[in-house]
Each structure stands twice: as structure tokens, then as C-alpha cells.
Subunit: 139 residues, 3 copies
């Protein structure tokens, strides 16, 4: 069994951003030399997500409005977590809806994705340096 | 390390359907000959889910109503994604609540599930051909 | 490829509880002797979650109130599932928001977690014996 590890770093310009990281993950699958296995991609921070969905701009706006409806940022005083001096409690909730991680099959040396599947980094408390972990195991 | 791959195909009769696919996944674990490892089961389409929960008809109805409350289908004009000509933006949201994938342990040649755990395919934009991927690695 | 399996048992005092199980999972990684691989941690019951987020008491209270808003326990008659004699339909929904499982990379013999990542058991229908499964594969 072989394994490969890579961190991706981000510092997004807005509080919330949605970045397609599929090319970066594909590059690591190639670098790993692994032909068949599993590829874990996870946010290393607890106010961000890695998820798989459509690379369509309208949908990204829809997600953003929908998440804000399910877990509003303001008023920040509605969340006990924000008594710690943070204002990001809503980001901890948005991230649970969108998920922490994806596990993608590797088949014949490639990410085994469906036709519209794209891997996204969902940032809900940006404007600071944060990381995603890629860990690949297989043969 | 060994590996095994299988696609399951669906064409469900309604916009939304919930199918218990545990027997199909169990059959692939047997076919793989793998005694210990991990089994990834994921929707290959971005308006469907693979999730684990109860095979109880009342609960499936509850899920359906609850998802429709959290991410209503109509009016379709409320979603920017639907300006592409689709009417399935809500399905992209319902799928994020229910999740894309499950990873199940394989122990002694069987799915290592708790007493009530059943693997479901959740379809939120059906009446078309769609796929689930099963990828098993282990020994 | 090596593998390691462990069940953790819980019987929490309240209907809903949030337990940090990171030390227990770390202990199993050490016991496995595996240096690089993947660690699956999943609830074996369908009214509980394993998720990764912050070990901050205010946030745990926020999660609890937020989940109760998205999927209220009462009135229990609003859910068809509760016609079976159960009163836990809401717990099946809360668990879908928070997720069933996490997959964590193992690197150099340790859980490869970000600075604030902690593994939690989220119980939504407690006061009974329930289990979490840890399955580790790697080398």
C-alpha cells in the first residue's frame, strides 16, 4: 500500500467563498502514482467545508443565500460561541450542512468522478490562512 | 491491497425516491473477496445522495417533507441556478443535507453495520438515468 | 495492509449530549501500530452522529438549539415515524445534518487533524446503550 499527503493553503478575500479545487486534487493523484485507492480531501479548519457539487455560478449564489437563511451570521449575539470574542458561530453551522470532507475513489490513476462532480472548498470565515488536507492511499 | 469497483444504475419513477441498496452493496463486498477494508458508496450525480439510516416507511415520508421544508422545490424562480433551464436547484441543496457518500467498514468479509443501519440511495431529481459508485479496498 | 477495529460504548444521561471522543480515537490509532492510512469513525446507530468540530461549550449549546430549530422534537405527532411507538423522528433528522461518520488521515502514526479539529459523538436519542465503530486501515 502506498500513501501520499499534501496540504493546500487558502486565504480567501471574503468572509464566504467557494473555490473549485478539482485540478489541485487531480494533480496530487497524479503525483502519488496510485492507480487504485481512496482519496480523502478534508478541511483542516472547523469553519470551512470540502464538498462535491456543481461548478455553476448561479448555484454557488443559491448555496450562499440558503446557508445564510439556515444559519444567519447576524445578529452575532444570538450565538453563545461568539461570547468567546469570535463572530463566526454561523460558520461552524454552515460547515456542518456542507460537510467537512469528501472521499473519492481512484480508478486507473484518476479521480473516479461522475460527469458533473467537482470538488469545492467552501469557506465560511475567510480572510485568514487556512488549509485543506489531501491524503491518498492505494496501489 | 485489493480493490473492487461497481456502478449501480437507477432510473426512478418520481422526482424524489428513497431506495434501500444495502443488498446490492453487500453483494459487491462478497464479490470483492475482501475480508477487511473500507467500502465507499457515493452518488455520481450531484442531485442525489447515498446515506445510511432506517428502512422505515414513515421516516422516509418524514425525510421527504422535512427536506422540502428546508429547501423547497417551488417556486423554481427563487433559485439562480434554475436560470440555466434546469428546475432542480432544490435537489442540489437537499443532497447536501443528506450527504454524497458513506464509507462503511468491512470486517470478516461483511459490511460492518449497526443493527438498524441500512444504505439508501436518495434521489432528488429523478426520472433520468443516474449512477452510484461502489469502490472497495482492503485485503 | 493492516487493519484495526474497536467499538466504543455510550449510555448518555440526556436525550441529547455531545462528547469529545478524540482521546479514545487517538488511543486506537496508537494501538493499531498503523503509521499511514485512514481512520473511519462512525455512529453504529441511526439517531447519533460522529462529527468534527470545536470543543467549545458555547458552540455545543448553539448546535443544540440550532438543531432543535431545524428539526424540532415536539410535537412528536408531526412525524409519521413516531407512529411506530418511537418519539425519536427528530433525532433521525438531526443526525443527517451533523453526519454519520468522519474519515481522518493517519500520518506518522497520529491522527492528522487541524489545530482545532476534535472528534465528537453527537447523541440525539440517548439514555440507552449505543456504539461507535473505529476502523483503521493502512501500514
Amino acid at each position: 500500500m502506498n500513501h501520499h499527503r499534501k496540504e493546500l493553503w487558502f486565504n480567501t478575500p471574503h468572509r464566504r467563498d467557494y473555490l473549485n479545487i478539482t485540478p489541485e486534487v487531480e494533480a496530487e493523484v497524479r503525483a502519488s502514482g496510485i492507480r487504485n485507492g481512496l482519496c480523502l480531501v478534508n478541511a483542516m479548519h472547523i469553519t470551512a467545508s470540502v464538498y462535491i457539487n456543481d461548478a455553476e455560478d448561479g448555484l454557488l449564489e443559491d448555496y450562499d443565500q440558503w446557508l445564510e437563511k439556515l444559519a444567519p451570521h447576524a445578529p452575532t449575539s444570538q450565538y453563545k460561541h461568539n461570547r468567546t470574542g469570535e463572530d463566526n458561530a454561523d460558520a461552524h453551522m454552515k460547515r456542518q450542512i456542507m460537510g467537512r470532507e469528501v472521499v473519492v475513489a481512484i480508478t486507473d490513476g484518476k479521480l473516479d468522478l461522475g460527469p458533473w462532480e467537482q470538488i469545492f472548498y467552501g469557506e465560511f470565515d475567510g480572510r485568514r490562512k487556512k488549509r485543506v488536507l489531501i491524503k491518498i492511499i492505494g496501489e
